[in-house]
Symmetry: C2
Subunit: 243 residues, 2 copies
């Protein structure tokens, strides 16, 4: 992740910082490409690459022949690809961090047992982590794995990064996932872990994940601070028939 920044990364990081500290309102235009070239003393290539990066992150909207316009102050995760958190953060030039609260092997509780197709006698491995963006608590993650997969995680430092990447290296692939999004009020625990007031609205993503053989091996309940992370999706007409 480290290493010297290329010119386009430098331009993207600076513009991203300005957008995040609200130097521009949503809808406001960024400086023109020419102005950015002059300010950063670079050619058009790096400027355009930086703008493409910010567009991909959902921060700006780009129209041909016009200056880019700020679309959102928050980083947004694209729902149609659902990139794992660590990878998404890195691509967006943010630093992902993890604070593991618990990795526990225990007998399956009601909801997880049902989602995973287990009985209350079966064991599962539950991982509870706070996920950080640039050091700030952004999400509380509750993942429950079937025992054969979850046991692999006792050999993994869950503070170090992506369980998705680790499990892929052990041959367990998140082959398909079903997500349900809603909103919940933060309880006392979530509020304390996220540094927000109890009752604050959180964006919740619940999911069930299947491996390459179609076996459900994980269910999860992830709760995001909406001031730090949103989700986005674009529908084109092919996917949106006229009524």
């Amino acid at each position: 992740m480290a290493g010297p920044r290329s010119r386009h990364e430098h331009v993207a990081a600076e513009l991203r910082a300005r957008i995040r500290r609200r130097d521009y309102a949503v809808g406001q235009a960024l400086p023109t490409e020419s102005a950015l070239c002059a300010e950063f003393d670079v050619s058009r290539g790096p400027v355009r690459q930086a703008l493409a990066t910010l567009k991909n992150e959902g921060l700006i909207r780009v129209s041909r022949g016009k200056p880019a316009v700020v679309r959102s102050h928050e980083a947004t995760q694209r729902l149609d690809t659902f990139t794992p958190f660590t990878e998404w953060a890195e691509r967006a030039g943010r630093t992902a961090g993890n604070r593991t609260l618990e990795v526990a092997r225990r007998r399956a509780s009601g909801a997880a047992a049902e989602a995973l197709g287990l009985t209350a006698e079966d064991f599962v491995v539950e991982v509870l982590r706070v996920r950080l963006l640039d050091g700030e608590p952004a999400m509380v993650e509750r993942s429950t794995f079937i025992d054969s997969v979850g046991s692999l995680l006792f050999e993994f430092d869950t503070d170090s990064g992506s369980m998705t990447a680790y499990l892929a290296g052990r041959g367990v692939h998140f082959d398909s996932m079903e997500h349900v999004l809603d909103a919940v009020a933060a309880g006392a625990d979530d509020a304390a872990n996220l540094g927000i007031a109890p009752g604050s609205p959180l964006l919740r993503e619940r999911r069930v994940s299947r491996d390459q053989n179609g076996v459900v091996f994980e269910c999860a309940d992830d709760r995001y601070r909406p001031d730090l992370v949103t989700f986005s999706i674009v529908n084109a007409r092919t996917s949106f028939p006229d009524p």
Copy 2:
């Protein structure tokens, strides 16, 4: 919409009602196909069609050779297609309703002006509606249209149904939409309109819609009661590269 119900619609409606009144827990199995055939005195065809309908609504999960399992008690809108509310409700066997609070032509305010690329001197048409599911307030909809499109709505009974369908009939198509999802606390107005306590978490969908010529003609801020509506999406591996 009307007309006598076919056999599969009857089976779907009955199973849907049972799921919604929590006769089954999430994760619990429905009766087997054979049991359903016996109970409803129909052949396998209508039973399978009914189960496919409920699966499509996000209420159940179907695996080959096993009874269907309840996935959610709430109806869920699929994010990858983003069917208009009225059409989605009808397909799900629910009754959509609308209570128009305001249709107003006024000068563009800050955020909408920026999203629509207008100045504060330009006019927009703002539509504020409460959208109902089976008579219950489920969502507060705030749509802002550019004047040329919004003016068409003064000839439309906004209590009667889908603006999407009406505008398509007038040659204005929702060709592509960019959505951002997050969560917000209900303010006093939203709480009163939705019949919930102020501060309750709401699932918010903001969007910008373009017509067939790529022109942004609508921006919207829709706030859903998460106990009545959730959003769902399925990712398969093709859209989810390994890290």
